[in-house]
Symmetry: C2
Subunit: 300 residues, 2 copies
């Protein structure tokens, strides 16, 4: 790539942020502009080549801010950066709040002449693109999204936040037709019983609607594996023709894929008109580096 590189600031250096740095390093058209954190602290040697700051403005030119932070922080952080004219991409994953967040970020982005791509992980994200395509191919029918087996980051964090839980790991088990079982492995805090913790977990909104099993273990870390997956299926009707069948399957390292999709979205954000977009609103070819022409012969 002889063209100018896209300078991406990684905001937050958790799981996703670390994988995002790998994805940026491996992208022919992107460069890490630096790392933005709440506090500058000592980092593993691997990250020492990058400037670490608490204020994005200190990084010089930044084309896109890649937000690798907990979903609940995204609305404020994204709106703040957009209002300073910085493009943002995030993997905000609270499905029910996406339409409102999109409206809010769209207004900010448009009034500051910049662009955001939100909810750009794998679900919401690439799965949303597949669901949209399936809907277009078979306008009548039912789409099922079956997650797992795999570790749910959101549910693990929710379980760990419960009083009496020292550490938690929530595994999503697909039971088919979009019904899931939650297997929650916990280390108990001192002085708490399995029964009281189990009752609290099962009444938490994250778990109350699914079959949930709580298992006390010695070491949650010994069970951890960030592999995940999804099976999506739609059986439906094209025109008047029934029994059309589509499926999409995935077995993946969860944060690695999320980070890769965020980097592809950063590229797309460079190409969008001012506004905020979810992934089905982006032409898929704009997720790829380089010129469209070079891909059309290969992929179409």
């Amino acid at each position: 790539m002889s063209k100018q590189q896209i300078r991406i600031a990684v905001v937050g250096l958790g799981n996703i942020g670390r994988y995002a740095i790998e994805a940026i390093e491996n992208a022919p058209d992107c460069t890490v502009a630096g790392i933005v954190r709440r506090q500058v602290t000592e980092l593993p040697a691997r990250y020492c080549v990058y400037k670490q700051v608490t204020e994005l403005a200190e990084l010089g030119q930044v084309d896109v801010a890649l937000l690798s932070q907990p979903s609940r922080l995204i609305p404020e952080v994204a709106a703040g950066l957009l209002s300073r004219g910085i493009r943002t991409v995030d993997s905000f994953d609270i499905h029910s709040e996406i339409p409102d967040l999109r409206k809010r970020l769209n207004a900010v982005a448009q009034s500051h002449g910049t662009a955001a791509i939100l909810a750009a992980g794998w679900d919401p994200g690439s799965d949303s693109v597949v669901r949209t395509l399936m809907q277009a191919m078979l306008p009548q029918g039912i789409t099922y999204t079956d997650f797992g087996p795999g570790m749910s980051m959101g549910h693990s964090v929710a379980a760990q936040a419960i009083e009496g839980v020292e550490k938690a790991l929530s595994i999503t088990i697909p039971l088919g037709t979009s019904v899931h079982r939650r297997m929650v492995y916990v280390e108990l805090s001192e002085g708490y019983s399995k029964e009281e913790v189990e009752t609290k977990i099962k009444s938490d909104d994250y778990f109350a609607h699914d079959e949930t099993h709580v298992i006390v273990v010695e070491s949650v870390d010994a069970l951890k594996d960030v592999g995940h997956g999804v099976h999506m299926s739609r059986k439906g009707v094209s025109g008047c023709t029934h029994n059309q069948q589509l499926t999409f399957d995935m077995r993946i390292n969860n944060p690695a894929l999320t980070a890769q999709i965020l980097v592809a979205s950063a590229r797309a954000a460079m190409r969008m008109a001012p506004g905020a977009y979810t992934l089905p609103e982006v032409a898929p070819i704009d997720l790829l580096p380089g010129e469209r022409d070079q891909w059309i012969g290969l992929l179409v």
Copy 2:
């Protein structure tokens, strides 16, 4: 839908054209503007509600022309309509010629302020979108597209065009890793031997590169079934993380799906800036009827 209907002219009334009429009739936002044919002839009663003409101009307002004709006719017909300011959609399927056709139609469409979506069936078409998405998710790796088992329209027509073949049906059998077997069922014309027909079929460019078996049958029609399918897979790398696995599978009535995607593309053509586009260049949400807002809550 209270909004104004998209008026679609169906150009050609072969297999795809007939299924396209069903798809338009079932679309909440589209109406059949009429049928354009080389010659006006008597049609089954089912089509009598529609005006049948040889010149599209006789149909009054037409928003989009849906071209359901053999691929080799598409370039001329599409360019002609675009130069009269009419949007076109087609399922042109000669993969190697798509980049050139796109350039040619793009120039015509731009200079006449209209839009075309080309190669918009399932392969090329929806499969191209999936391949593009897979490429974005796993930038390094190999994608395999395995077709079938199912009837290949193009190969059946090619076999039937060979001297000594009265009727032909070519079935595509997937052998994995994008390698295919062709099972060609033929009725012989009088005075021809199996051996001479088999030699000609196997040396035809459509068949010369694949393992091909020719079988003489009494009745090709007795074997016909337009069901088809595809298995696409990509194993590759997100960032530095290997062994990420994606698959997409489909079992479908071939012309029904092609027609449905053409109708969805007609809708998208109404929303595109002047120019010619392949399906990965279209935001998937634009393939759906109505407003984006209503879909984002459902699909993202």
